[in-house]
Symmetry: C2
Subunit: 443 residues, 2 copies
């Protein structure tokens, strides 16, 4: 007797959604549909390597269909979710299609936040997608190309100034990688300019970088960055971003930094689906647009709907928030999948979701990283090796893991970045880099 299968729909093929799908892959009485706007899963922790020419997009992206090919109970749909009808249990896509569900896992992630300055987005790209990464790559490389071409000393200095806003993991990684690019990879590539004279500025509003880590590690990270040639400006706020440059405020004074390349690593904003769900079920959202779910990750009144990953605001017993990192998303995905299987089987409910903090790590540059796990704090080469090991371990899920390791090895030995291509259409680049100093500016 064939029982009707339970339809589980998952929105988003990031770490949370993919883990949930894989956890449900062997369940015989379940039919899984994974919906994503893109046709690939992206290994976001290495996106900064694409942005700085170290890796190719395909090295850190795996086609979702390929990853889930052997799960015969799982279907992948490429589409954009625009609405969720909680009452009728239907997901609505951009092209009018409707996907009904018995259980729903929403794992739609987050994008950049510009703190009420949406106009900054075009001037200072963030790093969330493949297109962001190739855009940043084109901007950084084009700045060097244009610097080589100009005879104007001031303009050359402006083009060789790179400002990274935000001292979190993304900002630190980008600052380290851009500095390496200038000081090593491109060192002998030009004839009119000396790339090693490029300035890389990391601007952070708080009193330290990597503020979620222990103070000692923040200090070590700052020192490592400085040794790599990055200027780290703490307690500094960005008050304006314009084509000609960035205006900052520190120690009560305004200052204009002429630059053609501003990269954004300062803030994230949950997917709009979080707000949409919150309004539909009466839950609250926080300042970053993340939805406050119940302790079992479901929506109040809708035990069949789970929200997971960095679009969720969830307090741990110690009052801290579950961080918006890949391990948390994966744990939430596994939890939601297991909880659904429990409900289907009529088993007793499992306890609330508990985040198991295995520690966190951030890379700074070649052979330099910080990590902490409970009382253990490491920095330097050993932390970097640990970082490398963990990331390669996760990449093993990918088809092209060996390629990535090989590419890394080659990069490490040669300090090369063979993927430093300027591709795509980037009208903004020309505008930014040709920007002349407006009369109102005092540089």
């Amino acid at each position: 007797m064939a029982e009707a299968k339970h339809r589980v729909v998952i929105i988003g093929g990031g770490f949370g959604g993919l883990y949930a799908a894989q956890r449900l892959g062997n369940a015989p009485n379940v039919q899984v549909t994974l919906i994503d706007r893109r046709n690939f899963h992206l290994f976001q922790p290495l996106l900064y390597q694409v942005a700085t020419g170290g890796l190719s997009p395909a090295n850190i992206a795996a086609p979702l269909r390929s990853v889930l090919k052997r799960q015969r109970n799982t279907q992948v749909l490429m589409g954009e979710v625009v609405d969720i009808d909680l009452a009728n249990r239907k997901v609505k896509l951009r092209d009018q299609a409707e996907v009904p569900y018995d259980y729903l896992i929403v794992a739609a992630g987050a994008s950049h936040a510009y703190f009420g300055h949406p106009e900054w987005e075009k001037l200072a790209p963030g790093l969330k997608t493949i297109e962001d990464a190739t855009e940043i790559r084109a901007r950084v490389l084009s700045a060097f190309e244009r610097a080589e071409r100009t005879d104007d000393v001031q303009e050359r200095q402006r083009l060789l100034t790179f400002v990274i806003v935000g001292g979190g993991p993304t900002g630190v990684e980008l600052a380290g990688a851009v500095s390496e690019l200038a000081h090593h990879t491109l060192r002998k590539d030009f004839r009119n300019i000396d790339p090693t004279t490029a300035r890389v500025l990391l601007i952070e509003g708080q009193s330290r970088v990597l503020s979620t880590y222990h103070e000692k590690l923040s200090a070590k990270a700052k020192r490592s960055l400085e040794e790599m040639g990055v200027e780290v400006w703490l307690n500094t706020m960005v008050t304006a971003i314009e084509p000609y440059g960035v205006t900052i405020q520190r120690e009560g004074k305004q200052e204009v930094i002429p630059t053609a390349t501003v990269l954004w690593g300062a803030g994230v904003q949950a997917s709009p689906l979080a707000k949409l769900l919150a309004q539909a079920c009466g839950a609250e959202t926080d300042r970053a647009g993340r939805i406050m779910v119940q302790e079992d990750l479901t929506l109040p009144g809708y035990p069949e709907v789970y929200v997971i990953g960095d679009m969720v605001h969830l307090k741990m017993p110690d009052g801290k928030l579950v961080p918006g990192v890949a391990p948390a998303a994966m744990q939430m995905g596994s939890y939601a999948a297991a909880d659904i299987l429990d409900k289907i089987a009529g088993r007793l409910r499992r306890g609330p979701f508990r985040y198991w903090d295995k520690g966190s790590m951030a890379t700074i540059g070649r052979a330099s990283a910080v990590m902490e796990a409970g009382p253990i704090r490491l920095s330097g080469l050993i932390a970097w090796l640990a970082w490398l090991f963990v990331h390669i371990l996760f990449l093993i899920r990918f088809e092209n893991r060996i390629l990535v390791m090989w590419q890394w090895f080659v990069n490490y030995v040669t300090r090369g970045r063979s993927a430093r291509l300027i591709t795509g259409e980037h009208p903004e680049v020309a505008v930014l880099q040709a920007a002349t100093k407006p009369s109102g500016f005092q540089a």
Copy 2:
């Protein structure tokens, strides 16, 4: 006593320009400037692999600065040439800059020709640039994605029909690769559609494919394609390309083929610089816009200006044209460089340029190719191994040759195409693939 250096300017970093630059690299009394719109040299023969997800753009592109890094007498400029002032010996760039020269080598290449139908370009992308390749990749993959999503049987069939126009090397390669993608790589990726039911049509106006090869090889290539599942339609003209489909004419009858994906491999057009130079010096151009140069590759009246590569119309002693292939461009580049060094040294003029035809080869698909060199004609696996060997040999100039070989090996063993990502903004894709049948069409 320091002599003034002779300024050699090279326009274009393709096979011709790059070879000329490398040939001039060790000349002490020469100063070389290579100008290109892009910051990389592209290994065009493998572009079809990027278009079908087998390789990443960075696998077949090498940063020009990186390739020429060790040539201290050589400078690379990223810029677009808009005019050449023959009288005053100056090259003018898009951004107003002027680059003076003593000797000039123009190697600006060719792009697609749509035979008086420029409106087809958006509907049927050709394959000349990295962006073309990722555009084609996105279109082909998106067609499968949309086919998986639709319930309309006719529309599904339309989405699973791929039309390649032109039976030259590019069209043959594309047809073979798209067929492999459908019949092998994607075979188990979908749940609602069977990718192996996809139709791949290769449309050729003449009576055989690969018409520059011997008739026997054309016949073999056609048979190989058919064994791979490609329908080869000879003596067939494309008379219209519209969002809903392609209209063809064969045996006097018009027929509409409903399709969402048309790829263009039918014709090339020389860089506009050819016409510009022809008008300035009184030379003629042919139908494809190629300039007729003198037998030493210089312009009449301007012995210091060389034009090389596939923007040139040059007859061999036997009356045939020098073909627009990479080996010819490289030989022309070497010849022009050597001739310039001769002139500088005051040596006797060398004879006219002679093309040494080492033979030609075209790949059809996995383990299938054709090649001919003089009286030797090969096809099948042995031709494919020869093709692989020659292409790997040339790739050795590239930094990332080992990666490419590895990726190929992995693809060959697994039939995988891990780079099958849909990236970038492709508004056209949605338009094409959502195109509804216009009332005037009879499909």
